[in-house]
């Protein structure tokens, strides 16, 4: 009986593994085939011969380089602004203003229900005023992007904060002499680091892929520049698109790797001469 049960379990495990690999393979194909097709297109000339001319000519477009730099700067500013605004607000609402939780959630999720083009209509007078009175730098787009990424980042952070007892941990830290800054920096942030990482990944991905707002407010970010380039030279445009996708992928993997490194196995553990490795004594 036991042998038969083990055999059934093994068969189930194998089936599950196969299912996982097949699902992964289909998902990978779904993403990789278009990229491979783009790569193929960007490495052939008009006569169909293999060439790297489009790739080589990417640096020859200075506007493109500027747009890439601007998009990266926007991603950085947006992510930082979002974290600085959202994390303390959400923690404070959980600690002191629980009755406002629903309102904050509603406000944060609101941009999700508003089409980007409608956002642009609302933002236009603001940006017009900004350009006239303060600055017409592309980096001011970060203000709009913070609003744009709010729903996604709110959800990511909310699940992270929901996984820990924010109130008890904060009160414990306060009773031990921690200022509110220390509570945030030394207690809350390390315990929601995964949620912060997820929120950052989402925010970077959204900003790098944003087109509608930038284009309609007449700013040239990476996506806008790609569209302009496509009109001028489709080959280079596709080459840049592939390069941008690969770059974004590597950037996100890099952020995930740096932010998600496990803290275990650090060198600052206390030397208790090999103690603490025995079985857990139940008390």
């Amino acid at each position: 009986m036991a042998v038969a049960a083990r055999s059934i379990q093994r068969t189930r495990r194998v089936k599950l593994q196969v299912f996982r690999y097949v699902t992964f393979a289909i998902a990978a194909l779904f993403f990789l085939v278009p990229i491979a097709a783009m790569f193929e297109f960007s490495t052939r000339d008009n006569a169909g011969a293999r060439t790297l001319e489009y790739w080589r000519s990417i640096p020859a477009y200075p506007d493109l380089t500027d747009a890439i730099v601007a998009s990266l700067q926007l991603a950085l500013i947006t992510s930082l602004t979002m974290l600085v605004l959202l994390v303390p607000t959400m923690v404070w609402v959980r600690l002191k203003l629980k009755r406002l939780n629903r309102i904050v959630e509603f406000v944060c999720l609101l941009p999700l229900t508003i089409p980007a083009i409608v956002l642009v209509v609302g933002l236009y007078p603001v940006y017009f005023w900004l350009a006239e009175n303060l600055s017409d730098s592309i980096l001011t787009l970060a203000l709009a992007y913070v609003v744009l990424v709010l729903p996604y980042c709110y959800r990511a952070l909310d699940s992270g904060l929901g996984a820990i007892d924010v109130k008890t941990l904060s009160e414990a830290a306060r009773s031990l002499g921690a200022s509110w800054f220390d509570v945030m920096w030394r207690v809350i942030v390390p315990n929601v680091s995964n949620a912060i990482l997820n929120a950052t990944l989402l925010s970077v991905a959204l900003v790098l892929g944003e087109y509608t707002i930038a284009n309609n407010l007449l700013y040239n970010n990476l996506q806008v520049e790609l569209v302009h380039l496509a009109r001028d030279n489709a080959g280079v445009s596709i080459a840049v698109a592939v390069a941008a996708l690969l770059f974004a992928f590597l950037l996100l993997v890099g952020i995930a790797f740096v932010g998600g490194r496990p803290r275990r196995g650090r060198s600052d553990s206390l030397d208790v001469t090999g103690l603490g490795k025995g079985p857990v004594q139940a008390t």
Partner: protein, 359 residues
């Protein structure tokens, strides 16, 4: 680390309201240096609110908190030098045990070497030096609460606050950790306020027990006094089991089913009243047999509690609980007829409105 070196703590006329609900209604309480006072009461009686006001985690609507002669009412929690152990597990999950214990020292700018040394000392005090490099999720609930105790004590606080630290633990661990807390508290000599709803815990651990109801202190005194001489019917009811027996007050005593029992507070008017009689004051005089009388009844249940048993006796118009040594209780199985006697320990009475409740 022995000897009493705690400070006096005074809560003076503390008031705390949440909207229309008054959680604390003029609470005054003084803890002597090095004393452990347990605040006991049902949920919502205000005991945790009192503790949180003392910790500075909430602001009062009136009254003062004085620690070691200093008025700390307006000070935020992080400036009060108070150690606290919470009901919920409160170890920082991203830190190992020694880092948790050293956290308060880090906030006080203590150097790394000194921090580590003191953290290890504290873990040794609670018997967990072996677990210094373990994370919270690698420890049992009891171990986590011991580390939390070490963490609270590491900062050498003036006052230690324990907010139902044992309630999440199973009975055996709870009893062991309760003794451990008392040992450590005595060793450190720190003034301690312990909040619990578990009367056994409060009576076992405290120098004095304060019983609270509706934001007020009903009685404050040594555990034996609170148990044997409850100041009010609420205290009698809340601390230990109580039989409610109809009787008549006559000349400073209450006559219950033909037996006269002295009153805790004899200066009350004569008349009908309900006497609150402890189960251990009820004993079985012998086999009821064919005897008749107001204290003859039938055993309807015997609950085995270890060394003692609780016998429920049906007297016809009411049931009475008697707590006896198990050997004595075993002689009277369910269905047998018994004759009860009431020990003449002073009792409280309760009366219907408008007479005062505590007489």
């Amino acid at each position: 680390m022995s000897g009493r070196k705690g400070v006096e703590v005074r809560l003076e006329n503390l008031v705390r309201r949440y909207g229309t609900v008054t959680a604390l209604d003029g609470l005054s309480l003084t803890l002597a240096p090095g004393e452990l006072v347990a605040l006991l009461g049902p949920s919502g009686c205000g005991k945790t609110t009192a503790l949180r006001l003392l910790a500075g985690l909430e602001e009062s609507d009136g009254g003062r908190v004085v620690i070691g002669g200093d008025d700390v009412t307006g000070l935020p929690a992080n400036k009060r030098n108070i150690g606290m152990v919470f009901q919920a597990y409160s170890l920082f999950p991203h830190m190992v045990a020694w880092e948790n214990v050293a956290f308060g020292l880090q906030m006080r700018q203590v150097g790394t070497a000194e921090r580590k040394k003191r953290a290890l000392d504290m873990l040794e005090l609670v018997g967990l030096e072996r677990f210094a490099n373990r994370y919270a999720n690698q420890m049992s609930g009891g171990q986590q609460q011991r580390v939390a105790l070490a963490r609270a004590l590491a900062i050498r606080p003036q006052v230690l606050l324990l907010d139902e630290p044992l309630s999440a633990l199973d009975a055996k661990v709870r009893s062991r950790l309760r003794d451990e807390i008392r040992r450590v508290q005595m060793e450190v000599g720190i003034t301690t306020l312990f909040v619990t709803h578990d009367q056994e815990e409060a009576l076992a651990i405290a120098d004095r027990v304060g019983v609270m109801q509706a934001g007020k202190l009903e009685q404050l005194g040594p555990p034996t006094l609170v148990y044997s001489r409850p100041a009010t019917p609420f205290v009698a009811d809340f601390v230990g089991l109580t039989n409610r027996m109809e009787g008549t007050v006559r000349s400073g005593a209450v006559e219950v089913r033909g037996q006269s029992i002295p009153l805790v507070h004899p200066d009350v008017a004569d008349g009908p009243a309900t006497a609150l009689v402890r189960p251990e004051a009820v004993s079985i005089a012998g086999d009821g047999g064919a005897a008749r009388g107001p204290l003859v009844g039938t055993v309807i249940a015997v609950a085995f509690l270890g060394a003692v048993s609780r016998v429920t006796v049906d007297l016809g118009d009411t049931t009475v609980l008697a707590q006896l040594p198990t050997s004595a209780a075993s002689e009277h199985p369910a269905g047998s007829k018994v004759q009860l006697t009431l020990r003449p320990d002073p009792v409280l009475i309760q009366r219907e409105e408008p007479a005062p409740a505590g007489s």
